[in-house]
């Protein structure tokens, strides 16, 4: 073999080796370019998980603080040892109230200090002190005591056994106690005003660590070199920028121009376009059930004299009846009179999914056979006739002629309000107004500023108010079901604003929560019966959930959304130059 051939072979070998090594080198930490995610909201208010209370802050906190108990991204259930969570497993003692949590020993803060049970205890100390402005006071009502057994074992004793105690712990985060001690000391009351909240020196345990915050513009995190759960052995994206884009049209244009890496909820107006372009290979897309639900709350009690559900001794207060909605047949008629297909086309661009309850079909407690009301205007009118609302003067509006609660001759008139400025809500209720007027209702529709709407909602002075609510992930069946209990019927403060009270429902919800042994099938049957009662009694008209469309640029490798969202493997996203 002559020298030229040897050199050629050596060079070729080097080239081949370089080609083999190159992809591996591209997987080094921070080699994947920054991820730029739009923030359609306001600035985060704090990066301190103890006092955070807004979704934007949590969006950032969840990227740079580990969870206490994690959620499996595929099943969307709590799981010991879940990615990015400190709890590897837990035991429940025979008393049902003592939980022993075993913590991982391979997580460290950004300054190299191990994350331990003491860090969880610091969080609990602050929250349970009652001195902070934390929105997690629910923990105070549930946790009796806790003890750091060793660096990786923590025992929490609850004040009563029930089946939702793990849900109670979902807002718990480990915080870097050694740094918080210095920054906040024991001045829990002064925590809100501490500059450290927006400039945390030590974060970690998750994919990224804090870098900087530019008010009104963006929050920036950098790849965490010590992230223990990275899919590819290191965090590939160089960083994560949470960029404020205040207009949805502009947000989508920025995405189309490649300025945003991904969009977690494509606006309805852009869905068809994005889907089509996704099919043509311009974007990656993924559709998943939404975590919000639209409903119309119907006030069943006298709106002229709003009262609490219970007196100070826990006795049920007679709150009278709403003159029209106090009759369940009228509420059912509204359900039967809703043509969802028409609503879906006119208000939701055919992206809505009819629902019969506040549980998603994917939630474990969803009972088979729970169906939304069918569109049946004849049945609706028959129910109104039966309820004593007939159109005796032929003007198209029914009047009370032998009805249960309204004065004789009173028209079947209802005030329906929803939040102004939300185009899909406005379209929805405009269509429903027409549909219900066809039945003989006189629907007076008003679009009201959101703060004002909430005031009327909690004051219980309304007839019907349409809003939408987010659903917890993982689903906690008691989360929204508790709203229908009389304990939540507190004028001005509680959310049983419809003043609904059904003793059988109350019993089912409490029993399902406190079932000894927490057998899942038994609980599912209880919740199933509860949801059926609610569907039949209709204190709310459950209208729609929907699917959200997620979209990402094609240059993001490993973007693989699951039921639990798209960010579960954000550490592995590799963004190449386009």
């Amino acid at each position: 073999m002559n020298k030229r051939i040897r050199i050629t072979m050596a060079v070729s070998l080097l080239v081949v080796m370089a080609m083999l090594i190159a992809p591996a080198a591209a997987q080094d930490m921070g080699s994947g370019g920054p991820i730029i995610e739009p923030n359609f909201g306001d600035d985060p208010t704090t990066f301190n998980p103890i006092i955070a209370n807004d979704g934007t802050s949590y969006d950032v906190i969840n990227r740079m603080f580990p969870d206490f108990i994690g959620v499996d991204s595929a099943t969307v259930q709590y799981l010991g040892g879940a990615k990015g969570a400190i709890v590897s497993s837990w035991d429940i003692a025979d008393d049902g109230v003592t939980y022993t949590f075993h913590l991982r020993d391979d997580m460290v803060w950004s300054d190299g200090v191990p994350i331990t049970a003491g860090d969880v205890a610091w969080f609990l100390d602050a929250v349970l002190s009652g001195e902070t402005s934390t929105p997690r006071q629910e923990l105070s009502n549930r946790v009796e005591s806790y003890e750091v057994v060793d660096d990786h074992t923590l025992t929490i004793v609850f004040n009563e056994a029930n089946c939702t105690l793990i849900d109670t712990l979902s807002p718990v985060y480990p915080v870097p106690a050694h740094v918080y001690e210095e920054a906040y000391g024991d001045d829990y009351a002064g925590m809100d005003e501490n500059d450290y909240n927006l400039n945390p020196a030590v974060t970690g345990g998750e994919t990224f660590v804090f870098s900087n915050f530019r008010p009104g513009e963006q929050t920036t995190l950098l790849a965490n070199s010590d992230f223990a759960d990275s899919e590819l052995g290191a965090v590939i994206p160089q960083g994560w920028v949470f960029k404020i884009v205040t207009d949805q049209v502009v947000q989508m244009e920025q995405f189309f121009a490649g300025e945003l890496s991904f969009v977690d909820s494509v606006p309805q107006a852009n869905r068809d376009d994005v889907k089509a372009r996704g099919s043509a290979g311009e974007f990656q897309t993924f559709e998943t059930p939404a975590s919000t639900i639209r409903f119309l709350s119907l006030n069943v009690a006298d709106p002229a004299n709003p009262q609490d559900g219970l007196d100070e001794d826990g006795n049920v207060i007679d709150q009278g009846h709403h003159p029209i909605l106090g009759d369940v047949r009228v509420r059912q008629a509204l359900n039967y009179g809703m043509n969802f297909d028409e609503v879906n086309e006119g208000a939701f661009f055919n992206t809505g999914v009819p629902v019969a309850s506040h549980v998603r079909p994917t939630d474990w407690s969803f009972p088979a056979g729970l169906e939304p009301y069918p569109f049946d205007p004849d049945k609706a009118m028959a129910l109104l006739d039966e309820a004593g609302f007939t159109d005796s003067d032929g003007d198209g509006v029914r009047e009370c002629n032998g009805c249960q609660h309204a004065e004789a001759g009173a028209p079947l008139a209802l005030s329906v309000k929803t939040n102004a400025g939300n185009t899909s809500q406005e379209a929805l209720y405009t269509i429903l107004q027409d549909q219900w007027n066809e039945l003989g209702f006189q629907i007076n529709l008003e679009f009201v500023e959101f703060g004002t709407l909430v005031s009327e909602f909690t004051a219980q002075t309304y007839d019907a108010i349409g809003v939408f609510w987010g659903l917890a992930t993982p689903a906690n069946p008691n989360g929204i079901a508790d709203i229908f209990l009389p304990e939540a019927d507190v004028v001005g403060a509680g959310y049983n604003t419809q003043s609904y009270n059904n003793p059988r429902l109350n019993q089912l919800i409490e029993e399902a929560r406190n079932l000894p042994g927490c057998d899942i099938e038994t609980r599912k049957a209880m919740y199933g019966e509860a949801y059926q009662i609610l569907r039949d009694d209709s204190p709310w008209i459950w209208i729609s959930t929907g699917n959200v469309l997620l979209a990402a640029q094609t240059n993001i490798e490993n973007w693989a959304p699951r039921a639990g969202g798209s960010r579960w493997n954000i550490d592995a996203w590799t963004i190449e130059e386009m």
Binding site: N197, Q254, D482, V490, A493
Partner: protein, 375 residues
């Protein structure tokens, strides 16, 4: 001059106080409040919501809330023995608050039948007259900080738009007057009507879609390129981000100033002294620029002061469309969030800017027109 300025500032004090009373009153009586905005969350229990109401003091009578905001509450309820609980209070302030039960209702003592009460913490606010603007209810930090961190962006955009608006507006107005009845005069008039007819958000979106999305020659909003850096680069390196919002903000000013300048110039050129200048053989250039323009500036000065106020107070719509991190956008957010302290600090800032703006106008009169004195 200084006496005049001091007198004007003193005269402005009652106006300022009046503005604060009106603004605070309007805000306080508007339906919905910060608790509704903060606590619309089904996980929040009634007691927590009621505690928040007590903590924010929004259940106090409106005059007490206003006094607290103006003069603070450290003198209303105080702690003499240093145990962290109030032990003295002025006559119109409660020293004790109710013990709330889970429903957020006062707990009743079964033996006495009276509501249980607990000592409240002492007041810790000093009020705006002592430099304490309170904490943002939403951001949970000093409202002053929230304003101050947004000011640079607003000043940057506002000053640019003002300079562009005034310079272009005056130039167009002068040219239109010089070419009275000509094509430039006609087209500038039509242009002014069109620009004034398009709302800012519409114009902003149109420009963004055309220059940012279709032609892709200008950025789609923001103040600088999105990077991992902790700050935006210096202004000269990111001028392209200023172009579109400046056009939107300056468009109205150009249209307005050009019309005022045009009519003012046309008024001036029919004056005797201009005819005298012509008779003396002065050229058109000298007549228009040296003699005409200076006198025509007087009406411009009337509008310049309020324009400064408008632009420095933040242009809420333009800042929102362009994701510009300024005061105006924050003010809108604060109103939606019912973040009263932030709303009020923006009102104070805008009021002061307004008062100063009119003062500048008055001073400019004297500079432009020597006949005007300040005695």
């Amino acid at each position: 001059m200084s006496k005049y300025i001091i007198r004007r500032l003193l005269q402005a004090l009652p106006i300022f106080i009046g503005i604060t009373i009106l603004s605070y009153g309007l805000m306080a009586i508007s339906p919905g409040g910060p608790v509704e905005a903060l606590a619309f969350n089904n996980r929040m229990k009634p007691r927590e919501k009621e505690e928040l109401i007590y903590k924010l003091g929004i259940n106090d009578p409106l005059p007490v809330q206003y006094l607290r905001w103006l003069l603070g509450d450290d003198w209303m309820r105080w702690d003499s023995d240093g145990d962290g609980l109030a032990d003295g209070a002025v006559f119109f302030i409660d020293l004790y608050g109710p013990v709330l039960d889970d429903r957020g209702k006062p707990t009743i003592d079964e033996t006495t039948g009276e509501a249980l009460r607990q000592p409240l913490p002492p007041g810790d606010q000093r009020g705006i007259l002592r430099g304490d603007f309170g904490n943002s209810i939403y951001f949970k930090r000093a409202a002053l900080d929230v304003l101050v961190e947004r000011l640079p962006a607003t000043v940057e955009l506002g000053m640019t738009a003002l300079v562009v608006g005034v310079v272009l507006g005056i130039s167009v107005g002068v040219l239109a007057a010089v070419n009275y009845g000509g094509w430039f005069d006609q087209s500038s008039r039509i242009g002014a009507v069109i620009v004034n007819s398009i709302p800012n958000f519409g114009l902003g979106l149109l420009l963004l879609l055309f220059f940012g999305s279709t032609l892709q020659i200008l950025p789609l909003g923001g103040r600088c390129r999105t990077t991992l850096d902790p700050t935006c680069p210096p202004l000269p390196e990111r001028l392209e981000y200023l172009i579109l919002p400046t056009i939107v903000l300056a468009a109205g000013a150009v249209a307005g100033y050009s019309r005022i300048m045009r009519s003012s110039m046309l008024d001036v050129v029919s004056e005797d002294y201009i005819r005298t200048a012509r008779a003396k053989g002065l050229g058109d250039r000298a007549i228009w620029l040296r003699h005409g323009m200076r006198n025509a500036f007087i009406p411009i000065a009337t509008f310049l002061g309020p324009s400064i106020t408008f632009l420095l107070s933040g242009a809420a719509i333009t800042e929102s469309v362009f994701s510009w991190p300024g005061v105006g956008r924050q003010a809108v957010n604060a109103v939606v969030q019912r973040d009263f302290p932030v709303v009020m600090i923006v009102v104070i800032y805008a009021s002061i800017a307004n008062i100063l703006g009119y003062l500048i106008s008055d001073i400019l009169y004297g500079i432009i027109d020597p006949r005007i004195g300040y005695n």
